[in-house]
Amino acid sequence: MFSKIKKLYSQALKYLGFRDYDLPLNQSEDSRFLILLVGLMSFLAVLAFSGTFALNDMTSRWSSGLENKVTIEVPVETKEGHLLSNRTVNKETKKLASKLENNPIIKSVKILSHEEIQELISPWIGKDLTLNDIPLPGLIAVELRRSDSKSLDMLKANVKAISKYAQLETHHEWLGSLISFANTLKTLALFIALIIGGATVTAIIAGVRTRLAIHCKEVELLHHMGASDDYISRQFQRHSMILAFKGSVFGTLSGLFIMGIIVMLSNGSGGSLIPAIEISYMAVLFILAIPAIAALIAMVASRFTVLHSLQEMP
């Protein structure tokens, strides 16, 4: 049954104008190994690339969403260690908010309600504790018109003048370290992609060398019949290209499938453990180009190897 399909397939190819290789390349055992290897490499490449795309997306969402946002906190405990009463905290918070509202560098001011604050800190202390049990800080979310450091310094000065307890919390510092961490990950992914590419090229070169050695009698014959190096090389190129393409399609689709599952899981879990991952259509298109890229790499690597090796033959 299977061999019948295979025969039909090869007949169809012949009908379309493809013909057998002049060299018995299809009989090599290592073909399957190469397909598997390129498949695995493509799979890893998909993971590395989609990781990079997801990180890119995330960091840009973070920075665009947070860069011009500042939180002003009226803490329950002063720098000297005195506790402030809820009343003082509320009073200071309201005073700050009303005075800042008309400041030209500020776009909006919003005092966070106790419920919102509780929502924010609940992961650390749990929802079961009632509001009255612990003193809560006052929090004001401020949106600046511009996100440059000049506006930030002006705001700092203003806040200090209004309230001696208030502290400014910019997102710049932790966001900055988060972004640089993300960039490190991206560099790592790129590095992995390079290693994958290098390993694939090495395997393809080794495969071509083996096949050249196995078929040296046939190669010699073609040479004696007047085949140019280019003609002989084209045979190997086509063969490697098709193997790499087959393997890569297989690996890329599996990779996309796994990524699809990860994306679904990340969006379904409420965003608490894994941050929501989104992969854009552009990224998917790029990933779908991996088989073409793999085929191209295989072709070029084979060509160089064959031409180089043939130079050493008479």
Binding site: G17, D22, H223, H224, M225, G226, S228, D229, P314
Partner: protein, 232 residues
């Protein structure tokens, strides 16, 4: 057309000379036998003629070009003018009769339509029309030989080299093959046939290059042939 000047040849650096002091000239359209005992170097001399090996010393000129001066690509182009029928055929066993015969045309990048027409015609002519899609290992020795000869002549080579073409055949088919060579020669193909079959040499009476101890000597059969020609 072909000129060998003081050719010496050995297979490896420190091996012994297989050929030495070989000098001869073949004119365009000529027909020569290459005779000599088994192991005398006929196949080796042939391989120098189809540029499969380069001589250890001396100068080979082919089609007006000094071959040791040529680039790889120019050598390939030159080889496309030479049809070779190897002693051991050297068919590609994974390719059909058709694809084997088509090989020289494809190597010289002829359009596939032309390949189809010419190859089908020639395969029919050598009587293998029923075996176009068969693989060589499934065919008899004689049928394989006909594939080999078809492959050697399909691209209308200017020079045809055949190494012991009658070696595996009974006399009848052998003589028919010789008839084909005669015909090609009349159409202008330069021909060299290596054989140790003295009967054939005498029957066809073409000039003979005779290998003895790795070098050419003026052979008696050559002289006889000349005499016969002079008589007519």
């Amino acid at each position: 057309m072909i000129k060998f000047d003081n050719i010496a040849f050995k297979y490896s650096e420190n091996g012994q000379d297989i050929l030495h002091d070989v000098n001869f000239t073949l004119k365009r359209g000529s027909y020569h036998f290459l005779s000599g005992q088994s192991g005398s170097g006929k196949t080796s001399l042939m391989s120098l003629m189809y540029l499969g090996h380069m001589p250890t010393s001396g100068q080979i000129t082919m089609f007006g070009k000094k071959v040791n001066m040529l680039e790889r690509d120019e050598l390939s182009k030159l080889r496309q003018n030479i049809g070779v029928m190897f002693q051991d055929f050297r068919l590609l066993n994974h390719l059909s009769t058709f694809d084997n015969v088509a090989l020289p045309l494809r190597i010289s990048n002829r359009p596939e339509k032309e390949v189809k027409d010419h190859v089908n015609e020639l395969i029919d002519w050598v009587g293998l029309g029923k075996h176009k899609t068969d693989l060589p290992p499934t065919l008899s020795g004689g049928q394989q030989q006909r594939i080999a000869i078809a492959r050697a002549v399909i691209a209308r080579p200017k020079l045809l080299l055949a190494d012991e073409p009658t070696g595996n055949l009974d006399d009848k088919i052998g003589f028919r093959l010789m008839g084909l060579f005669e015909q090609l020669n009349r159409m202008g193909t330069t021909i060299v046939i290596a054989t140790h079959n003295q009967k054939i040499i005498e029957q066809f009476g073409h000039p003979c290059l005779s290998l003895v101890d790795g070098t050419l000597e003026a052979s008696p059969s050559n002289k006889i042939a000349q005499k016969i020609r002079n008589v007519f």
